[in-house]
Symmetry: C2
Subunit: 251 residues, 2 copies
């Protein structure tokens, strides 16, 4: 191994997470953390540990949910949960694409009915940045180690089929590595100045987690470089060309 | 280490790649490949080794390039090179977004003037799938090892600031891990059935490569799982909702 080597460690043997479980403690029992490690946690298991789930039987769909559900052929109660999680709807059909209060734009507002008991759905953590900070603080308290934490979700994207992992919350690092003012191999000032490093790490974490029944909801990255930058990962509506095009089509 | 551990190794010490360089041989001098390794190679260094670069002084911009360059404030010869690399233009301003003959949709058709001599630009490999297959075959010939190969590019995306790595070519694996028919932890058939694993790996490869002057254009992933799926990563125009919205706005 040389200094560029990174280790990526899937956290094995976690139980099925239930509301009230101390997720950071369960992870710390299985990982010997080192300072600087990056821990990626699937938003679904964080949500389950905190009770960010809903029982479909308790949801009464409104008129909008009934109308959209007729088009998308989904359970109107599920659609209502998506609307409840959304701050702005960008597209209703063939799938609901919406903006969450956090700024994240995703399909069905990240509401999920896989890997949960029948009749229940998992919603995204309402404060994903706070969730990452809380896990980071817990790990520091339990182990004394200074780690960085990512909360991941699985998302579709424009122009390409298939889902990939992205980061919806992070702590101990900035979302964006800002290269402004840096120079390339030939001494030119770089024009590409922003790399969304949290999403690049979340993407590979999602690959290691796998979908399906593999059940590896936490992944540790060891020996990753540090960077400087900022946390402005979401466009303003005025900056967002694709959003504007969708909105103008919808109206 | 347990069986879930993955090693990610940046290939250090490669020289500045020139046209005619045997890139697979240069990488094999620096990596002891094992069967199953995944090698990610930056498209820019592959293009340089093959001479997929252009001299701006030899390009005469046409009327469209001059018209677009006035809006984007770019060199009209650079814009002409972007148009020459594009099969279909989805957006002209504030940046050119276009589809390449390979099906990949990207900003400025991936034409790049960083990390290259003044007055030259790097274009994406015209046949990125063939490029990955060629590198894979060369490594097998040199080392006898059966590796998987990705060609990466750096790309913006919708709804989120910052660029991330994506895969434009791959060999020895499918782009998409298809989970159709698989079940989740509770035995339900999964609804999310397609994971774009090549893009998840390319994203983290890009993080390890870094932008700027770090000069690590190749990354090896060791001990990654295998998967089954398919290579249909690009939507048809009829399937692509965002493309349709952009097109309807443009017309």
């Amino acid at each position: 191994m040389n200094s560029m080597d990174i280790q990526v460690i899937g956290v094995l043997g976690l139980p099925l997470i239930q509301q009230g479980d101390d997720l950071p403690a369960l992870i710390c029992e299985r990982v010997a953390f080192q300072d600087g490690d990056i821990l990626a946690v699937a938003s679904s298991v964080y949500s389950k540990s905190k009770g960010f789930t809903r029982d479909l039987a308790t949801i009464t769909p409104g008129a909008d949910a009934v109308r959209i559900a007729e088009k998308t052929k989904e359970d109107p109660r599920f659609v209502q949960a998506v609307l409840d999680s959304s701050a702005d709807i960008l597209l209703e059909y063939p799938f609901i694409l919406s903006e969450l209060p956090s700024g994240h734009i995703g399909v069905r507002a990240g509401v999920d009915h896989s890997n949960v008991e029948d009749g229940r759905i998992i919603i995204l953590p309402p404060d994903p940045m706070g969730a990452a900070a809380e896990i980071r603080d817990s790990i520091r308290r339990i182990t004394g180690k200074n780690v960085r934490v990512l909360i991941t979700d699985t998302c579709g994207r424009s122009f390409r089929r298939g889902q990939t992992g992205i980061a919806i919350g992070w702590a101990g690092m900035t979302a964006i590595n800002d290269y402004r003012g840096d120079t390339d191999l030939f001494g030119h000032v770089l024009e590409i100045t922003e790399e969304a490093v949290v999403d690049e790490i979340a993407a590979f974490a999602n690959f290691v987690m796998g979908e399906s029944h593999q059940g590896v909801p936490a992944v540790v990255f060891r020996n990753c470089r540090t960077w400087t930058g900022h946390d402005t990962v979401y466009f303003t509506p005025e900056q967002d060309i694709i959003r504007a095009a969708l909105k103008s089509k919808k109206d």
